[in-house]
């Protein structure tokens, strides 16, 4: 694809922000601003050392998450940064580390170095209290997003009374750490440190000794976190013996572009459909006078779908390539079924965007029927991007209808390419493939038709699938499995939850917490494409049979998670959104449909907090309404509570989509869960 094609400049610019919603550095950009403005005072020396160098990230030794310079612990797993721990050892932050680990420990370690510490703390007892209050208050206000505002208030404090200096960061660390791991345990950190009094000093100093012991270990990881998640051995054993890894591949595109036919054809060619079934489909579709739907019928099984020739819900099929076990998610293209497409295909790792090459159809897919509005080619592309999908295969289908003309293919590539770029797909991550599902050209083998081979020598579709990169899987984090579907097994009569493991791993006999009902259940069997297996890890799409739970408690849209690490169930959220092309502005009080992982819920916008500019800074507070392509911070209230997590903690549970009047009006991420007061 020639890169010289440039889309409208403004369009492109605005979509740059879109980046922030999906890209890996998203989490840090807040800290970037605040952190740079107010260099954090704690661990000053060690930080200064490294902040003079240009790259401002450090990689967590535990989970390899790249954190911003100003963070002293990993944002993902809470592991402390090594340099920080070292500086603590150097005595700079003695009491910092001590307070962090101030859970009662009885080990009678030696009282080394304790001479200095008690003096410091005693002086703090008199005047440190107000400082403490101040810090924790401002923390509450700013909350986790603006960590460093506490740091700035610290700066102010510092001018007044220097001895307090080391005390405040102590408070902060304790608060942050506890907040990160027990969402509602805000007070515990505060309480533990505010309960410091004279006799605690004893313990503190002994803890200091403990810490000194600890520093001999390489992993000084758990100073404060009794609740930290430790992945067990069976979860991590990953370099599997000959088992291919699983790739969730969504097939999206405008209505009638041939998604189901393409999926059906692929399955057939790879021998996944028995001859008998295929024959049956062919015969029946001919009887109905819809011979061309024979392959689509392999996917569209319900009578309604067959009769109308339209896919209505996401169909799931399994196939194997050389590199992957692929889970095909064949989504509906009709605009009325976009909600089904969202709830069915959010789990995708990569996507095939099917485009109808025939004259008029491609245009309808781009600009909607009659050239007004947004076609589903565009809407789906925007949606899959906001699902977090970065790699896209564009299958230009029905090339037979345009006699395999290179001009048409290039035209589509040009038009759609500029749009995809504006959606923030990288050129290098898009593969363009001309094909014809009906005439079996360029699907699993190189094309045979001379009209196509004369100008196309690239990948066939199957090779393109194999060339996709597997996204990284978070096996080491606590289990999260959003339930996509619940089915009662015909044979055993037990309830099974279908879904993709977002993080963590699960095995037979594991205990899981089922949310939102809050019941615990035991995993009885795990099935992957109707073959049972013993272990499933992040990224796998599985059916999990549960024991000890009633079917009514298990609902699509719920989440299975680790019993000790429940996800939040909330109905009041703060979102960071990008408004798409809309005609009716979003106002305070606008009623929308709120989609997050597999749930949808009616919601309304309760507050528009601020418009955000490109760097994510609030540019205008409390605007009257939101228009197309603006970034904003908003609050929404849902009619019913859903399982949700901040985007910074869990990607999958933190992406939200707002729809209204049959169109996607905004995509965004959950910035913060607002704890509801009782009334």
């Amino acid at each position: 694809m020639p890169r010289k094609v440039v889309s409208g400049p403004d369009y492109d610019d605005e979509y740059d922000d879109y980046d922030e919603y999906d890209d890996d550095d998203y989490d840090e950009y807040d800290e970037t601003e605040y952190g740079n403005n107010h260099p954090v005072n704690m661990g000053k020396e060690s930080l200064k050392k490294s902040s003079s160098t240009v790259p401002v990230h450090w990689t967590c030794s535990m989970c390899t998450f790249s954190n911003h310079e100003s963070m002293v612990y990993c944002e993902m797993c809470g592991v402390f940064r090594e340099t920080f721990v070292k500086s603590a050892k150097d005595g700079l932050l003695k009491d910092a580390a001590v307070a962090v680990s101030s859970e009662p420990r009885t080990s009678a370690a030696s009282k080394t170095d304790s001479a200095k510490t008690p003096v410091k703390i005693r002086s703090l007892d008199s005047d440190g209290d107000s400082a403490r209050k101040h810090a924790s208050m401002s923390y509450d206000k700013a909350n986790s997003m603006q960590l460093t505002s506490a740091g700035s208030s610290l700066g102010a404090e510092k001018k007044k009374k220097t001895p307090v200096l080391s005390e405040v960061p102590v408070e902060r660390i304790a608060l942050l750490a506890s907040d990160d791991f027990q969402p509602k345990g805000n007070q515990s950190g505060g309480a533990s440190s505010s309960s410091q009094n004279d006799n605690v000093i004893q313990k503190l100093s002994s803890d200091l000794g403990q810490l000194n012991v600890d520093k001999n270990n390489v992993n000084v990881t758990k100073p404060c976190l009794s609740e930290e998640y430790k992945p067990e051995k069976w979860m991590l054993a990953d370099p599997e013996s000959g088992v291919l890894s699983q790739l969730n591949l969504a097939i999206v595109g405008h209505v009638d572009s041939g998604k189901s036919t393409l999926s059906g054809r692929l399955l057939h060619l790879l021998g996944r459909i028995s001859k008998k079934d295929m024959h049956k489909n062919e015969k029946e579709s001919k009887e109905k006078g819809k011979g061309s739907f024979a392959f689509a019928w392999a996917m569209d099984e319900s009578s309604e779908e067959r009769e109308r020739g339209v896919t209505m819900t996401v169909a799931v099929a399994y196939l194997e390539t050389k590199k992957f076990r692929v889970v095909l998610l064949d989504s509906p293209g009709h605009k009325d079924f976009v909600p089904n497409m969202i709830s069915g295909a959010t789990q995708a790792d990569a996507a095939i965007l099917v485009v109808d090459a025939s004259t008029g159809s491609f245009e309808a897919g781009m600009d909607g029927e009659g050239g007004k509005g947004v076609g589903q080619t565009k809407e789906h592309a925007q949606l899959v991007r906001s699902f977090g999908v970065e790699q896209l295969v564009v299958a230009v289908n029905k090339m037979d209808a345009v006699v395999y003309a290179k001009e048409r293919f290039d035209f589509i590539k040009l038009q759609l390419g500029s749009f995809l770029r504006s959606c923030n797909f990288k050129d290098s991550a898009i593969t363009w493939i001309p094909l014809s599902a009906v005439e079996n050209q360029n699907l699993i083998n190189a094309p045979s038709d001379a009209r196509l081979t004369s100008w196309y020598q690239g990948f066939c579709l199957l090779d393109a699938i194999d060339s996709l990169q597997l996204p990284s899987r978070d096996v080491s984090k606590p289990l999260i499995l959003p339930i996509c579907d619940v089915i009662k097994s015909q044979s055993t009569g037990q309830w099974a939850a279908y879904g993709k493991l977002e993080t963590g791993a699960i095995q037979n006999g594991s205990k899981v917490l089922v949310l939102p009902s809050g019941q615990e259940a035991t995993v009885k069997t795990i099935q992957r494409d109707s073959n049972s297996c013993t272990i499933a890890r992040a990224g796998d799409n599985v059916a999990i049979c549960l024991q000890g739970i009633d079917g009514s408690q298990l609902i699509p849209g719920g989440v299975l998670c680790h019993p000790r690490f429940p996800v939040a169930v909330a109905n009041h959220l703060e979102l960071k959104v990008l408004v798409l092309d809309i005609t009716t502005p979003i106002l305070v009080g606008s009623q929308v449909e709120f989609h997050i992982h597999h749930v949808k819920e009616a919601a309304r916008v309760t507050k528009i907090i601020a418009l955000l500019d490109k760097t994510g800074k609030p540019s205008k507070s409390a605007p009257r309404f939101l228009k197309s392509k603006q970034n904003a911070l908003i609050q929404v209230t849902l009619d019913g509570a859903v399982c949700v997590q901040e985007f910074s903690k869990s990607r999958a549970l933190g992406r939200a989509y707002l729809r209204s009047s049959g169109r996607t009006i905004a995509v965004g991420v959950v910035n913060q869960i607002i704890v509801q007061d009782q009334n």
């Binding site: 009578s303 819900t313 009325d336 449909e593 309304r604 228009k627 209204s660």
Partner: protein, 379 residues
């Protein structure tokens, strides 16, 4: 509503005797009765009496009581209006100053006495007593797995039923599960329809959904009606209308009311006018944001300083304010706007459009000319 007797002075004191006849009328009564008014009605009260032997004896007595209203409570499901207040009529059973709650029901007359009958109250009575403008419409709003049944009257939309079932996705051989779940869901909706819709009252039933759910449901309905010999449905086949909606949630109801086919059925009713007015407001906000404003402060400034209001949209909730001064403020605002030759739409908060307006602070206006300076004023 039937007006039996009227004895009042415009903008002065007086009383009216009314008989509510439809559910809507109770809603109007709810809007009429303000705190501080006197209300007289027949009621039943349990009275305790000491018998000569020393024991106590409870007895239910039918009384005519007049109370000074302290709170009004509208129960939209049961269509009863409960008015609580202190007794001011002398009688054998209830002391003066004792609390009593009057229940206003259909077909039970009541007398309402007010110190000031403003034009708004009079207009409410006039509207309530106009028999022509009734549009009883039932809407079944559905999507796979979720259905709402609404009855739309002149000024209230009542949610009669909400059906929610989980429907599995298709899953290879388990496709049967999907079909049975869907059948079961339709059966629930059918039962709700039979239970809540009285074809004597309801003119027509609109079935709305995204996709084909509506067609599927209609087919199911006709099939079952023929099979089970449900006369009501067979006889009223032609009164079932299909319409498109984008979801099964309540807020999609305004899309249904906005579709041309349905619009024709409810053409002159309040519900239709409200939907249209709100749509105009949103269009203006999209195309020329400086010519639309919302929020009490902005609208008040636009009216008082610039006399710029062309169309005023306001919900009736604002008039029901317990604080008389606030109510007066809004009444004056509306009157002032009317005098400046502007259109005023008073939205019923029981309709979807009214609900949506209530979310937007309850007051909004389309302006005659752009006022970009409003943006700078704090809401």
């Amino acid at each position: 509503m039937k007006l039996v007797h009227r004895n009042l002075v415009r903008n002065g004191p007086g009383s009216v005797k009314l008989v509510p006849e439809e559910e809507d009328d109770l809603w109007h009564a709810y809007n009429l009765i303000a705190i501080g008014d006197n209300l007289q009605a027949v009621t039943v009260r349990k009275v305790l009496r000491e018998v000569a032997s020393g024991g106590r004896d409870a007895e239910r007595v039918k009384l005519k009581l007049e109370i000074v209203v302290e709170s009004v409570d509208y129960d939209k499901e049961g269509s009863v209006l409960r008015v609580r207040g202190k007794n001011i009529t002398e009688n054998d059973h209830v002391k003066i100053g004792q609390f009593h709650t009057l229940e206003l029901e259909l077909k039970r007359p009541f007398v309402l006495r007010k110190e000031i009958w403003d034009w708004l109250a009079l207009e409410t009575i006039q509207q309530a007593c106009d028999p022509a403008a009734s549009a009883d419409l039932a809407v079944i709003l559905m999507q796979e797995g979720l259905a709402h049944l609404f009855l739309i009257g002149r000024s209230i939309t009542a949610t009669r039923a909400r059906i929610e079932t989980s429907i599995p996705r298709k899953h290879g051989p388990a496709i049967a599960g999907y079909e049975t779940a869907l059948k079961k869901f339709f059966e629930h909706v059918l039962q709700a329809l039979l239970k809540h819709i009285d074809f004597e009252v309801v003119q027509c039933v609109v079935i709305a959904s995204p996709g084909f759910t509506k067609d599927q449901f209609r087919d199911y309905l006709f099939l079952e009606a023929a099979r089970r010999d449900l006369r009501v449905i067979i006889e009223n086949k032609q009164r079932l209308v299909l319409a498109h909606a984008t979801s099964g949630y309540k807020h999609s109801l305004k899309e249904v009311l906005d579709t041309p086919g349905v619009m024709a059925l409810i053409k002159d009713t309040k519900a239709a006018q409200e939907v249209r007015a709100l749509q105009d407001f949103f269009n203006m906000l999209t195309n020329d944001p400086a010519r639309a404003c919302y929020g009490p402060k902005h609208v008040a400034i636009a009216h008082e300083q610039y006399a710029a209001v062309q169309t005023l949209l306001i919900t009736d909730t604002l008039f029901r304010n317990a604080d008389i001064a606030t109510r007066q403020k809004y009444v004056n605002l509306v009157e002032g706007v009317k005098k400046s030759n502007a259109t005023v739409h008073i939205f019923s908060s029981m309709h979807v459009s009214g609900e949506q307006l209530a979310q937007l602070t309850g007051i909004a206006a389309i302006l005659r000319f752009p006022l970009p300076q409003l943006d700078d004023i704090e809401m």
